[in-house]
Structure formats: structure tokens, C-alpha cells
Subunit: 328 residues, 2 copies
């Protein structure tokens, strides 16, 4: 990929999540030298103070060397041009200038982008599909996020927030979504969409493993527990998950018909817990819903970086920015 | 837009349709100097001979001056990189090197792209939205075509055929589509999808104006006749068209959620026949199905170039190519 950083250059990749945060210090070959990972919230500490502390501790772990820049993946909506977080109630941010705040604190350039964008970018750059020009990432979990790379660049669009594939309408009169409308992919296929069906199965005694291990509370139906129920032969649970995975596949097929990517990366909690099932159903849906000429040769691959996708992607994004600035 | 062509430079824009073909000679300000328009098919003449004749006649009309290049909008699928038409049974083409054929015949560079892409490009370049970076064109008619402009460039993707928005699945168990699958936008909202419902209304005596003027044959239900029936107060016909237009709006909303364009151009036979109805339903659907943050400030505009969109877009595309080559 050409050398973005010079020998001795260090950058920080930061993954800001609603439940955990992680900062990693990388060298010029994107090898992790030190890291710090903590719960996102601590009483009496603002989210921005928490982040400062996490970055400092990651740097302290390697002797507090000077760094060249910081790349950040954060929940949206946000403006990647200005580094302003528009609205993240979980972290108490509204029009918060995260990029400028970190840039002043650490005295280096900062890039901020949506966490799913950054995760897609990381999987693209550091996975087996880095030669592809056009890539789509789909991450079904509690919500369903997406990232789009076109001509080797993240797509932001007019609003800065392109890639909201979780709110693609797939069933006009479908179930209600967290966004207030109906029939979104997320309403049909997120972990919560699956959990409500599985909880109903448990309540009706149609899923005894789930009932015994998770009860009937939707909040207890984690991806791992659902995967275990399927391993234990709960056929109706499997049917529910396959149906949701097939909907993810329809969304992927629509994205193929619209964007014609060369590769699609599937990640997120549900895919990590049940990769074979997801790849099977998504491939089936793509065969049934994408145009033959457009799906020919498209690679559909599971994410492989897990929790490291965002920090790696963020580190690469800031390295690319530094390189572009040094050329300008 | 800066000057792409120099004074005295002429280019040809060619619109290849299944029923008609048109060639127009443009000067460096994209003013039409001469043109030729004919039915696409003539017994005993191949499509390529027909095209040669049409271009020659357009040039003859202005005294056969030398030209700098030819831009072509043609039905797909085709490969815009090589100018090869992959498959257009209507015109008898399979893997036909249209770009090279015309380039040899006329001794100039030729650009070939999908007709809907070229039409979207023309509406973008020569309409009121030329300052927008990211634009989507949606053209409901006999089929439903789409064109996507990202960062001021037509999106082609890995296959070269990105933008097949007519085959976006919107209802998993919906009606059959001409492509063989179910629930595509085209199966829900094309002129044929509308015509079949309107014909059924006529057969049931629920649309007397349609019955009297078009009978019950789907092939007779043209966009203009449907518009007239609505003007004549046929409420059920209006309901059918509004429902189809709303589906187009859902597709537009999905494209806004995915791509975050700054403008959406609506064209095609149905929109030309009923622009107000289409704009109303599409705006309603966008309000209901696109995320507030993504739809904010998006301009949804009717196409304004009509039959000239493709020839103008094609002329601009070849002018841009010539300019890029002269710089290289």
C-alpha cells in the first residue's frame, strides 16, 4: 500500500463505543505497541475526559512518546469534515467539537469518522480485499450499521452521514423501527428484531434452551446465547435467525444492484457469533435478489479483525491524512 | 464549468434507444447545430449501420465539418471502460464493440455509457443542480432506470453497471418482475406495473374513461393516457399511480439513506406525464422513509431536458474525456 508513515512515526487509533472505549498506539507498520481499554462511562467524568485519560494511559504504556496524529471512530451522526459530533446522547454530546478538542489536547492532527465507516475501512485496508476499489461493509448487531468505500475512499455524501443502510425500507408495512418508521432493515434483522421473536418462542415453550438460560427478557437474548440455542438444536430459533440473516442478504443484494461493489464485508455481533449461517443466508439472498451481471465475481467475506477493526482503520485514516498533508 | 472545448470544436452526442435514435452536433458551448432522429430499426439494416447513417445525416445537416469526438448513451448492460455493449437483444448486439466501431468509422475518440447514466449526467450538468457533488437520477417509465453521480463522477462500480435501482427489492414476496425475481421497484412501480392495475380497473368498469379510450389491453395504457384519465376524474386510476409514485419515493428515500446525495432528479415518461403527482408522492415518501439528518436540504427536482438529456450528457462526457486526454 506504499508507506504512509516514516520509521519512528507513531499514531493513535481510538474506538469510541457506547459501552467501551479503546485507544491503541501503532508504529509505522500499524503494529500495536500499547493500548488502553475501559468502560465508556464513569461517574463524575465527562466522555471527553474519559477519552483523554484512555489515550494518555495507552501512551504511558509505551513511555509517552511523541505521536504524529490521532484517528477516531465514533458513533454518529457526526461531520467528518469538521470532526464535530452532532448528536450522541449516550455520551452527552451535542454539536461537540471532538476533533478540535483532541487536537488541542495532544497537539496533533485528528481525523474523526463514523465508527462503522472506520470499521469497514479497517477491514478493507487490513483484510484480504485491500485491492478492491469499491467495498461495502454491513454490520448487524444491536443496530445495523454500514460503511461504503467508492474509488478507494469512504463515502460521506452531502450530509456527511451516508451509509445508513440499517434504515433502508424493505417492507413498507413492516414492523416498527427504533427510528420511528416501519419496515427498516434494522426493524427486520437487528439483534433486537431477532430477540423479540426468540423471547416469544421461549414464552410459548418452543425454545426450552433459551427459556432455561435467558428467560423471556429480550435484553437477555445476546448473540452468543442465541448461537448456543441453535447449536443445541432449537430449530425455531434457527429459523428466526435465518430469516433475519436473509433480510441482511436482501439489503446486501440491493447494495450490489445500486453500487456494484467488488467485495462485501459482513461483521458485527450476530455474524461473529454465527458466521457460517450468515454467509449461507446472505449468499442465498444475493443469488436470489442481485442481478446476475452485478453479482458476478463479488466477494462476500466475513470480517476478520473483530474489535481491532476500528482502531486499525482509524490509525490508517490519520496516517493517510498526514501523508496527504505532507504532499500538499 | 470551465471551458472543456475550444472555439470551433464540434462533438456529437448520440442517444441510442430501442425505438428511436438521435444524433446531435454540438459546438463548444453545447449549442445544437444539427441533428438527425430516426426510428431505431429498419429492415435490412443492422443497428450499427443505422447509427452510422444517423450520425452522417446529422453531420451533413451542418456541412459535414470535422468533429473532435462522439459521446454515446446506449441501453445496457455495457462496459463503459471498453465501449463494449454486453447484451442488447433489441438491437441484435452481444459483446459488440460499439465504441471501437464508431471510433474507426469517424476517426475520433468515442465514449459509451449507459443511457440512464448519460441522461442523469445531462440533467446534472445542464440543469439547476450542476453545483451538487452527489446526485441521483431516477427515471420511471416502461422500466425504472437510475444513474448515480458521486464526487462529480458517474458511478460505474466493479461490473461497470452500477445504478440498477429498478431491481432494488422493496417487498420480499411482492409481484414478479421482468428480471425473474419478486418485489423489485420495477415490478411495483413501472408503467407496466401501473398498466396492469389500470387495465383491471377498466375490465371491472371502474375506469370508464380508460375503458373507452384504451380498452383493457395493458400495451395501450401509455403514460399520457393514464394522465388524461386522472385529469378526467378517475379516482381509482389516480390511486394506482399515487401508490406506484410512493414506491418510487421509497426507493429515493433508500438511496438518500445509503448515498446521501444533495439532489435527486426525477424523469422518465411517467414523471413527464404527471410531474406534480410524482413530486408530491416522492416528497411524502422521502419524508416518511429517509432519516431526517440525511434528507435535510436535499433537492428533489423534475428533469427538464426531456429527450435532449442523453445527447447533451453524451456530448459533455466526450468533451470532458477530450479535455482530460489533452492534459495527460
Amino acid at each position: 500500500m506504499g508507506e504512509l508513515l516514516s520509521k519512528g512515526d507513531l499514531v493513535v487509533g481510538l474506538d469510541i463505543g457506547a459501552t467501551k472505549m479503546m485507544a491503541v498506539v501503532f508504529n509505522n507498520k500499524f503494529e500495536a505497541l500499547g493500548q488502553c481499554r475501559k468502560r465508556s462511562r464513569k461517574n463524575g467524568q465527562t466522555a471527553e475526559d474519559r477519552i483523554r485519560q484512555i489515550i494518555r494511559e495507552a501512551l504511558d504504556a509505551v513511555g509517552s512518546p511523541p505521536i504524529r496524529g490521532i484517528g477516531v471512530g465514533s458513533p454518529g451522526p457526526l461531520d467528518p469534515k469538521t470532526g464535530i459530533i452532532i448528536d450522541t446522547p449516550n455520551l452527552g454530546w451535542k454539536n461537540f467539537p471532538l476533533g478540535d478538542t483532541l487536537s488541542k489536547e495532544f497537539g496533533v492532527p485528528v481525523v474523526v469518522d463514523n465508527d462503522v465507516n472506520v470499521g469497514t475501512y479497517g477491514e478493507w485496508r487490513f483484510g484480504d480485499i485491500s485491492e478492491c476499489e469499491d467495498v461495502v461493509g454491513v454490520f448487524p448487531g444491536t443496530g445495523i450499521g454500514g460503511g461504503i468505500i467508492i474509488n478507494r475512499k469512504l463515502l460521506h455524501g452531502f450530509s456527511g452521514a451516508a451509509g445508513e443502510i440499517g434504515h433502508m425500507t424493505l417492507e413498507v408495512d413492516g414492523p416498527y423501527c427504533g427510528c420511528g418508521k416501519r419496515g427498516c432493515l434494522e426493524a427486520l434483522a437487528s439483534r433486537i428484531a431477532i430477540a423479540k421473536e426468540v423471547a416469544a418462542l421461549a414464552a410459548r415453550e418452543d425454545a426450552p434452551y433459551v427459556k432455561a438460560n435467558c428467560g423471556t427478557d429480550i435484553e437477555n437474548m445476546r448473540s452468543g446465547a442465541i448461537a448456543k440455542a441453535i447449536e443445541n438444536g432449537e430449530k425455531m430459533v434457527e429459523g428466526v435467525v435465518r430469516r433475519a440473516a436473509y433480510y441482511v442478504g436482501i439489503a446486501v443484494a440491493n447494495l450490489i444492484n445500486i453500487l456494484s461493489p467488488e467485495a462485501v464485508v459482513l461483521g458485527g455481533g450476530l455474524v461473529e457469533a454465527m458466521p457460517d449461517l450468515y454467509l449461507e443466508e446472505v449468499n442465498r439472498a444475493v443469488k436470489e435478489h442481485a442481478m446476475p451481471f452485478l453479482r458476478k465475481g463479488v466477494r462476500i467475506v466475513p470480517a476478520k479483525l473483530g474489535d481491532n477493526a476500528v482502531v486499525l482503520g482509524a490509525a490508517h485514516l490519520i496516517a493517510k491524512r498526514l501523508r496527504a498533508q505532507s504532499k500538499a
